[in-house]
Symmetry: C2
Subunit: 332 residues, 2 copies
Amino acid sequence: MTVSRVVSGEGYVSEITREKVLKVVKDLNYRRNGLARSLKRQFTETVGLVLGDISNPYSTELARSVRKTLVDEGFNLFICISENGSKEDIVAFESLSSHSVDGIIVATRSNEAGDRYLRNLVETNVPVVAIGRDFRHKNVDLVSPDNLKGGFEATRHLIDLGHRRIAFIGANLSSGSHLKRLQGYVNALESHSIPVDERLISGRSDELPDVAGYSTEDIGFEAMKRLLSLPNPPTAVFARNDFTAIGAMRAISDAGLRIPDDIAIVGFDDIPMAARISPSLTTVRQPMRVEGQIATEMLLERIKSGKRISRRERVLDCELIVRESSGSKRTN
Amino acid sequence: MTVSRVVSGEGYVSEITREKVLKVVKDLNYRRNGLARSLKRQFTETVGLVLGDISNPYSTELARSVRKTLVDEGFNLFICISENGSKEDIVAFESLSSHSVDGIIVATRSNEAGDRYLRNLVETNVPVVAIGRDFRHKNVDLVSPDNLKGGFEATRHLIDLGHRRIAFIGANLSSGSHLKRLQGYVNALESHSIPVDERLISGRSDELPDVAGYSTEDIGFEAMKRLLSLPNPPTAVFARNDFTAIGAMRAISDAGLRIPDDIAIVGFDDIPMAARISPSLTTVRQPMRVEGQIATEMLLERIKSGKRISRRERVLDCELIVRESSGSKRTN
DNA sequence: TGTTAAGATGTTAACGTTAACATACACTTC
DNA sequence: GAAGTGTATGTTAACGTTAACATCTTAACA
């Protein structure tokens, strides 16, 4: 017990004893067993972050911001990668919860089995906050960029430039109905009385696995190729994220077409590469660092209060960053 | 005990009992406490990965590869960010070791205090493997790209193109003496009888904090600006990594100079952006996925054997990827 | 029939901490 | 000098598992 007091620096210990203990601690290379400590204390001062796509700079900036906010409060961060697979999601949730993290921040793509497991966790009072994804539960907070408005503005930007045949890349109308960016695209078209043409909405082909990482670039590439083979291809494209946009740009260049002269393109996220590629990519910037900070603060509040707090939702404004890839006004 | 047997699926349990238990497990939303389990079993089947700079695509590819190798063996992965600070390093090591991970893979920048703590861990039989960094210990494996050869070849490439005044960006000769990429640069110059000019070796200025993330781009920017203000600026630059190179490219453009015509540039890592920027960046590609896999295999071997294994070192070949930024042969 | 083996379940103790309580002493205060 | 306060240390039990061992039943076999 005296050792415990010395090591944790709490309670009364005489200077002489403290020094004796510290000497032995050093001699034996003693390190306190955190498992036993956590088991007894019933908390770990550790938070888990589950990332669906760690290759996306969006995720890493998020992670850095989460970590920064956590350490200021004396919490540790463990990051798990799920690669946006439902099985992997569950493994990540499982390993975090079995290590008794005090709370979990989830930034994966929504999927049925994963969501079910997550719901289960929440039911047993594990504090959870979701970032940038769908998850409705009365005790789970959500922090998200305004994907609807972002998608709307990206599309409106293209409409304002004179485009009428505008494609969406990265999801299908059927499977992506929940995708707010797609919905924003549809809304923008409709509010300008442009009919939505389902052939211009191009998700991944069945050949490509729905994987995470830079491979989403391939989805954009494949989807764009299909669009280009249409009898009447689009003059502009809005991609669900920057990697998809960059893949699409590759397909456009490969086809011998010019950006933005032949086809204009807008992405989403504003990853660092967007500003550096040629032509530079017009995109919608989402405030990743703010998202991470707010989500962490919400989670810490849940953890510290120990009570069930009812759902809060924070939707953060995005910013349209106009660069070269969308071009200037058309005069068809 | 019977519940334990049902949940872990080991030992004899009758079908009837198993079903009864499973029903109650479900009704009570019971989840096994991993802390207690690990405390008793004395292992966690979890591995920690400490990343110095999670914003670098190099790190994330590494992490994905490590995770993939681990899950095949039934292990979990917890990632910690250290932001390449010695205090943060220690916090990461501490939180991983106190959670009793079975082993740690370290991919941070070397620093004295962090290394001391790490050495301490190793002395208490925590299996450790280092990736792409300096760390000599008789029980720690090292997996690394061949930075020496990579630096040599990058520099030789510039020499072969006719350059004589070649700068190095990203470290100082004094503080970076351990930096193999810098050493490779020096060796290449010397083997071509080009004197090493210390003014052409440009690290970060004291104004810039030595931080991780995309801010390393700023280090390249600042360092290049200083080089450009020299009475006799270099005609070529080898940067310690791609972000630094990209920052340098920005400084060159800002000064109204052309790449590669006025100044040629070579980076290191081959991050995805390198191929996409304009002009595309000549760089040295390191086999990140292979590094992650080998390191993980080495670590698992240590974990499974439970014995002290003496140090092994794997140095992996890099590949020079020639793109636009280094230009073609000079005819001065 | 007795012997052996396999199947099923239960009991005990231990993993390494710390909260809570107990004890002891020195020193102040009225 | 009795009571109270602060300091220092010790004891006990509990956190939730599971390895190891013990017990009991049933089936199989010579």
